[in-house]
């Protein structure tokens, strides 16, 4: 729309208030018109179209969380423990993720405000700035780990590190160039679909389906209880629910323009995303399970090393798919995580923050987004940098951020002043408070285990 490309305009008066229409509003209105048209029709195809129009934030956040470090955690799980307890356990962690992420859909649709903005407004500047800065630091460190995964994955094909990083930045920038939330979302969804590449890789290993179904039903065989198992349990939980997810899905729900009428589809979106992400996570465990069967030590394996170890089992093509999956995981996460930082910055500073903004009106938003990605990518290229230490620090910062983010989420979603009748019902509160408790405790335990591993020495293990 040509008018939409112009600067903000004073176009009319509603009551005593001057209504100012911006480019962002016009783009969002066009998206909403398509949703309204689809909703007005009856039948299977209009409903399918409505679903197509409304899915996005949930699928993106779940597949985005299947990022480089997460996929490495799942690969390590399969290589160390094979088929057993961890298959249903990963399903359970994604169920917990659904419980948490569902709350962000309701909050975003009911208030049309992002998570950082609500914390800032409802709990004051201290918690608002804390949440934003904590998220920004955690996201930045996580971004570094994503670029490490991209570099390692493309390294399998002999791509030099600088070119691998450049490819990732070009893809990130290409998605942004549309200056349109809808286009950005579809490009990122297309990239995220490659997360499912782990499924054919798993099939190439010819898994024992009887053992798989037995494990999913009975949670057997149990891995025993020692320090190593505890760390993998905590790492898998940490691979499923992280602070940026809360901020991202709520902000994306707002930017997409979802309203209370769309909450049902927001739930479907979240469950669909979790189902796809679970499939990819389980496939990764199955793909590396043969390494367990062959008693190959996979300690401290990186993306390329897993691919190389799998090559004798699934061939060069399968190993290449595995490495490509790692690259995709890093690229999609780098897009979504840098976007969540930019959203949070705009929400707390009350600067324009939308992927519908043209560059001129969204300078701060796009600058934060680009700076985060470019700086993280640049750090990965510094020779001799202790990248392993960065990965370790990511976990600690995530621990720092998770409990406040979850507590605020829980308090906000039960805040009748902003949620009205959409506050959580009692049964949902029991469920979500249980999940919040488990995730917080797991995060704290993981942090302690990273910082002071000797504390868990009493449990045995390595």
């Amino acid at each position: 729309m040509s008018v939409g490309s112009q600067p903000p305009q004073t176009n009319g008066i509603a009551g005593d208030e001057v209504v100012v229409i911006t480019h962002e509003d016009v783009d969002r209105a066009h998206d909403r018109v398509r949703v309204s048209e689809a909703r007005a029709r009856r039948g299977f195809f209009p409903r399918a179209r409505l679903l197509w129009l409304l899915v996005g934030p949930g699928v993106l956040v779940m597949l985005g969380e299947n990022d480089g470090p997460s996929m490495l955690a799942y690969a390590a799980t399969g290589a160390k423990f094979g088929i057993g307890f961890f298959l249903p356990f990963v399903v359970l962690t994604f169920c917990m993720a659904i419980v948490v992420q569902e709350m962000t859909v309701r909050l975003g649709a009911a208030t049309h405000r992002g998570h950082a903005e609500l914390i800032f407004d409802r709990f004051g500047p201290f918690w608002g700035w804390f949440s934003m800065i904590d998220l920004a630091i955690g996201n930045f460190l996580t971004l570094i780990t994503e670029f490490i995964a991209i570099r390692a994955g493309l390294g399998f094909f002999g791509v030099p590190p600088w070119m691998a990083i450049l490819i990732a930045l070009v893809i990130l920038y290409a998605a942004l160039m549309s200056h349109r939330y809808w286009t950005w979302e579809r490009i990122t969804l297309a990239a995220a679909a490659f997360n499912l590449v782990f499924i054919p890789v798993a099939l190439m290993t010819h898994p024992n389906w009887h053992a798989v179904s037995h494990a999913l039903i009975t949670w057997q065989p149990l891995p025993g209880f020692n320090k190593e198992v505890l760390l993998i349990v905590l790492a898998d939980i940490g691979a499923t629910v992280t602070p940026w997810m809360l901020f991202f899905q709520q902000s994306a729900t707002v930017d997409k323009g979802l309203t209370t009428k769309d909450i049902h589809f927001g739930h479907i979106d979240t469950v669909l995303g979790a189902a796809l992400a679970t499939a990819a996570a389980l496939a990764t465990i199955l793909a590396t399970a043969p390494l367990f069967a062959h008693q190959m030590g996979a300690d401290n394996f990186q993306a390329a090393e897993f691919a190389q170890a799998l090559q004798p089992i699934i061939g060069r093509f399968g190993a290449s798919l595995f490495a490509l999956g790692m690259v995709e995981a890093g690229i999609v996460a780098s897009i979504t995580i840098s976007t969540s930082s930019a959203y949070a910055f705009g929400e707390v500073t009350h600067k324009p923050h939308s992927l519908n903004l043209p560059m001129g009106q969204g300078k701060a938003f796009y600058s934060v987004l680009t700076l985060c990605a470019v700086a993280a990518a640049g750090i990965v290229l510094i020779p001799g940098l202790p990248l392993v230490y960065v990965v370790l620090l990511v976990n600690v910062v995530a621990v720092l951020a998770m409990p406040p983010a979850l507590v605020f989420l829980f308090m906000l979603v039960n805040d009748r002043e902003i949620m009205g009748d959409l506050v959580s019902p009692p049964w949902a509160n029991v469920l979500s408070s249980g999940v919040v408790f488990v995730l917080t405790a797991a995060g704290v335990l993981f942090g302690i285990s990273v910082i002071a591993p000797n504390i868990f020495a009493a449990l045995g293990g390595k």
């Binding site: 911006t22 066009h30 323009g257």
Partner: protein, 70 residues
């Protein structure tokens, strides 16, 4: 003539936006802050618990960075 078309176009866009978006979805509406929440006893206790937790965790992070640097 051109100005009249432009004005009609603007009016059409305005109508489209106002009929499609809820009032608080408009970008300018987001400039307004939501009123601060009045916190009661248990909520204040939770926030103080968070502050203590953060102080502890920040000390842990600083310690970790310090030990790594040395």
């Amino acid at each position: 003539m051109v100005r009249k078309e432009e004005a009609q176009n603007l009016e059409a866009v305005r109508n489209l936006v106002l009929s499609s978006l809820e009032h608080d979805q408009l970008a300018r509406a987001k400039k307004h802050h939501i009123p601060r929440r009045i916190l009661k006893g248990p909520e204040l206790a939770v926030l103080w618990g968070l502050r203590i937790y953060l102080l502890f965790m920040m000390a842990v992070v600083v310690y970790q960075v310090w030990t790594a640097a040395h």
